[in-house]
């Protein structure tokens, strides 16, 4: 009966899409953090940002490799990471936002870490063994990212007038990208219903609690939630992604299949 086959196909495509977007989140954010290499305020912080980027690229690799396996068309992690077009990337818009000053980088990483921490912890209970295994590693790693960025948020917020003002500005600029974190589109819904995915909308309260606790200690406030930007999951990106990809994909576009 062909009718019993079709839902299988569909759910495989949904799983592919779900894993791919998670991989895109981590790849793009990692690429952004990598831009700090050699430029961070101190040597220790240079190492820290590079280490966080490395964790993210490791998570992205595992996710891309799995996505390729699920898709079953022979695309490997490199092809998925380097050989797609801008509109095919489904990363969250916050991950592609420019580094800005150090305050912007820290707030972006803090917002995302406070989200990924409960996200990966819940994913550990996924019915999908591979996603659960990736989550078990990632959830340990993101704990450090959250702790590290939290310390900076407090230090900068409760620091000098200059650092405080820059933090206020960064919070104002990035707040509009946080709504997308908790959206549940059809792909996410289907994955949730099949016991594979995480209910992102359900993470909002915990995220707000974590963020507000730290901000309070930092003498900062979470800006009022106004208009929220969205579109990353549908491949609608800000003008920044194209520039990231031109750098990220340069070698593979110039010399397809290049290895070293």
């Amino acid at each position: 009966m062909s009718g019993t086959c079709e839902p299988m196909m569909t759910s495989n495509q949904t799983l592919f899409s779900y894993v791919l977007r998670l991989a895109d989140d981590h790849l793009i954010l990692s690429q952004r953090l990598g831009e700090w290499c050699g430029e961070a305020p101190t040597l220790e912080e240079d190492l820290a940002l590079a280490n966080i980027a490395l964790d993210l690229i490791g998570q992205a690799r595992a996710l891309y490799a799995y996505a390729g396996q699920v898709e079953g068309k022979g695309r490997d992690e490199d092809q998925l990471a380097f050989m797609r077009y801008e509109r095919d990337y489904q990363n969250l818009l916050i991950t592609e936002q420019p580094n800005g000053d150090f305050a912007h980088t820290i707030v972006r990483q803090f917002f995302i870490s406070a989200y990924m921490d409960p996200f990966w912890r819940r994913m550990e209970g996924s019915k999908d063994d591979m996603l659960a295994a990736i989550a078990a590693k990632a959830s340990k790693e993101v704990t450090y990212h959250l702790r590290h960025t939290s310390e900076w948020v407090i230090r900068l917020g409760d620091g000098t007038r200059e650092s405080h003002e820059r933090m206020v500005e960064a919070l104002d600029d990035l707040m509009m990208f946080t709504g997308e974190l908790f959206e549940m589109d059809a792909v996410a819904q289907e994955m949730l219903q099949s016991g594979v995915g995480v209910d992102a909308s359900d993470l909002k309260a915990e995220w707000q609690h974590t963020v507000q606790t730290i901000l309070q200690e930092a003498t900062l406030e979470l800006p009022k939630a106004g208009h929220m930007q969205t579109g990353g999951r549908m491949g609608r990106h800000s003008e920044h992604l194209g520039h990231i990809l031109s750098e990220l994909q340069y070698m593979q576009r110039s010399f397809p299949g290049l290895t070293w």
Binding site: L47, A48, N51, A53, G58, A62, A133, K137, Y144
Partner: protein, 141 residues
């Protein structure tokens, strides 16, 4: 020398049904740059030992933990100048939980963390307040 078995990276070596030697390794951190190199070197070591039919597999689950570092491995790390992880990893530490790290050079408990992130993803950077030496601490994970 600290071996990958001491560190709990080498999970198992077994024969599969076709008589192929399968070595299972697990990454410490997702992004550990040494992962590929370690797999390569395990393959080479097996080849050099005269085994032709060999394979290296990467396993993610269960996730690597510092609890798998043997007591011998811990002592070797200390002798190498790297402070071994101090506690078991099962507790999700409080956000600002501080650990007491002992200096691998002079044994003093008077140390301070310079950075959560050290020369590799698995290590943090510390400084001894007694002998003033900086050192790496193998993070509890």
């Amino acid at each position: 020398m600290v071996t990958i078995a001491d560190l709990g990276i080498l999970r198992s070596i077994a024969l599969d049904e076709e008589g192929c030697i399968v070595a299972q390794v697990t990454p410490t951190y997702s992004g550990c740059p040494a992962t590929n190199l370690i797999q390569q070197m395990v393959l080479e070591a097996l080849h050099e030992a005269g085994f032709e039919n060999v394979r290296v597999e990467s396993v993610l689950s269960p996730a690597w933990t510092t609890d798998w570092i043997s007591s011998e491995g811990r002592e070797k790390l200390r002798q190498f100048g790297i402070a071994p992880p101090t506690e078991t990893s099962n507790s999700k530490r409080a956000l600002f939980g501080e650990t007491l790290v002992t200096c691998p050079h002079c044994g003093s408990g008077e140390t301070e963390r310079v950075s959560e992130f050290g020369s590799t993803p698995c290590k943090a950077l510390y400084r001894c307040l007694a002998c003033r030496e900086p050192f790496d601490y193998f993070k509890c994970h």
